[in-house]
């Protein structure tokens, strides 16, 4: 195992620190440009609130509880939809990769619905399930389903034959092959699919909430946007961005631990 020299030498510690700064520098630059553009009156304050004003609005909504209430609802819908979508997606992907009949059944469905914007179905779900969690979560679930199906399918298909053979030679039953061999062997690919789905789940939640919810960050953004209170609209958005970013980092940390056995995990995902 290659132990990075940077991990313990003093020079390495400095370079780690520099790397972190470098990593977040582009974000800092964008925020600075944003703030300056408003301060220098390059854009109309009525149409673009400054970063400072956005932070103040976010603080105000945090203190009065508006953020907490709506954010929790949105997180519940996003991660709930992601969890169910991922579980179903892994099951379908695994079935497709191991059974020709499942492949023939789901294959055309997956291929045709892959590029369908799932949010376009929200009005229909609204009609069927009304305003609320079911409609929102269903949209998220569908959006998460496809990347997970596809990545699971390809991950399982790529499991080397000798791995399965050696498991069979050691007495593994067909059912246990799925759990003990195919899923762990394909886990890098599956995790990658879930990570893509994680990005989708927040996007879709917000979009769906704008149409089909009474609460949630999406609704909050929508209402403030309609009333022209753009600082508050941006504040809500900022809260969501922070949560989505934290969720991605958390998933990445889980992934790095769960896949610590994998050759490529350090090269492909390791930046912490």
């Amino acid at each position: 195992m290659a132990v990075s020299v940077a991990a313990w030498s003093p020079a390495g510690a400095r370079s780690n620190w520099l790397r972190a700064v470098w990593h977040y520098l582009p974000i800092a630059i964008v925020l600075l440009v944003w703030q300056l553009a408003v301060d220098l009156d390059l854009v109309d304050r009525a149409f673009l609130p400054s970063f400072g004003a956005t932070l103040r609005a976010l603080w105000e909504m945090t203190v009065n509880g508006e953020i907490a209430v709506n954010l929790l609802v949105s997180i519940y819908r996003a991660l709930g939809g992601l969890a169910i979508g991922s579980a179903v997606g892994v099951a379908i992907g695994l079935a497709m990769a191991t059974s020709r009949r499942a492949d023939e059944f789901f294959g055309p469905l997956v291929a045709t619905t892959y590029s369908l914007p799932k949010t376009s179905l929200v009005p229909l779900f609204l009609l069927w399930f009304g305003i609320g969690d079911v409609t929102n979560m269903l949209a998220v679930l569908l959006a998460c389903l496809l990347p997970v199906i596809v990545s699971t399918y390809h991950g399982v298909k790529a499991v080397p034959a000798v791995i399965v053979w050696s498991a069979r030679a050691m007495g593994t039953s067909h059912r246990l092959i799925l759990w003990r061999i195919l899923l762990p062997s394909a886990s890098l690919s599956i995790f990658t699919g879930i990570r893509i789905a994680l990005g989708f789940c927040f996007v879709v939640t917000i979009s769906a909430e704008m149409i089909a919810a009474k609460t949630g960050i999406g609704k909050l953004i929508f209402l403030y946007g309609e009333n022209g209170a753009y600082a508050y609209m941006f504040g809500g958005l900022l809260a969501l961005v922070i949560v989505a970013y934290a969720a991605d980092r958390a998933l990445l940390a889980v992934m790095n631990y769960a896949l610590r056995w994998h050759d490529s995990i350090h090269a492909a995902h390791g930046d912490g």
Binding site: M1, V162, I163, S166, A169, M170, L176, W261, H262
Partner: protein, 258 residues
């Protein structure tokens, strides 16, 4: 007692330009406790033969019996060591060795004992919790053999087990295998392209022809191998036989000396 009996085995592969006959009327008989090696030019179907014995792929004709019963699929009576080890990369050394025991319902305590003993046997104490990617080729090979020995199969099927190792490590591993076989007297069928290895290790060497593969020649290896490697390898009988086998393989490979 006959352990493995193959009669008139045929195997074809479907290719884009028609069927390719991989094995044609192969007859092999291996006695219980015997160490047999199959050598032949690359692409002659010797690995295919081993995979058919393992039950991983089916034959297109002929009979394959192991322990008097027709082979219909993989079984724990036949332990297999693959070319590239085929260790489970997500399991640690100890978990890899333990895997076959778990699958066969060995009690927990017994598993611990066997794993501990085997880790000691292969000299990997302190590496139990490493993942395969953290091991050298020789270490991986030791784990691959240990995990196969763990559940004590009667027959070992070895597919070029030392092919990926450097020359020195390969010799060490060959000696370990020889000692292991002498101690356990398992039935061993090994596939290799290394003539030296074949003559050094086995009691009988079968030479396969170029595709379609069939057994064309057979050599009994009768000299004493209980001594040190140097004694065996510098022995005239050994060298004479090695040269003969080498020539036989070379003829099959289409060498100009034919």
């Amino acid at each position: 007692m006959i352990s493995i009996c193959v009669r008139k085995l045929n195997k074809r592969y479907r290719a884009s330009d028609g069927d390719v006959t991989a094995l044609a009327d192969v007859d092999v008989e291996v006695a219980e406790g015997e160490f047999v090696t199959i050598v032949g030019p690359s692409g002659c179907g010797k690995s295919t033969l081993l995979y058919i014995l393992g039950g991983f792929i089916g034959a297109d004709g002929g009979t394959i019996e192991v322990g008097g019963r027709a082979v219909t699929g993989p079984g724990v009576d036949r332990g297999v060591v693959f070319q590239e080890y085929a260790l489970f990369p997500w399991l640690t050394v100890a978990q890899n060795i333990r895997y076959g025991l778990e699958m066969n319902g060995t009690p927990r305590r017994r598993c611990e004992e066997i794993v501990e003993r085997l880790v000691r046997t292969i000299g990997l104490q302190g590496f139990e919790h490493r993942f395969p990617r953290e091991l050298s080729g020789g270490m991986k090979q030791r784990v691959a053999i240990a995990r196969t020995l763990a559940y004590d199969p009667k027959i070992l099927l070895l597919d070029e087990p030392f092919g990926a190792l450097d020359a020195q490590t390969r010799e060490v591993m060959q000696d370990e295998l020889l000692r292991l076989w002498q101690a356990t007297r398992k039935t061993v069928v090994m596939v290799t392209h290394d003539v030296n290895e074949a003559v050094y290790l086995s009691e009988r060497v079968l030479v396969m022809s170029q595709r379609p593969g069939r057994i064309v020649q057979e050599f009994e290896v009768a000299f004493d191998r209980t001594g040190e490697r140097e004694v065996t390898v510098l022995n005239d009988d050994f060298n004479h036989l090695r040269n003969e086998v080498w020539l036989a393989v070379r003829r099959q490979a289409g060498g100009r000396s034919a």
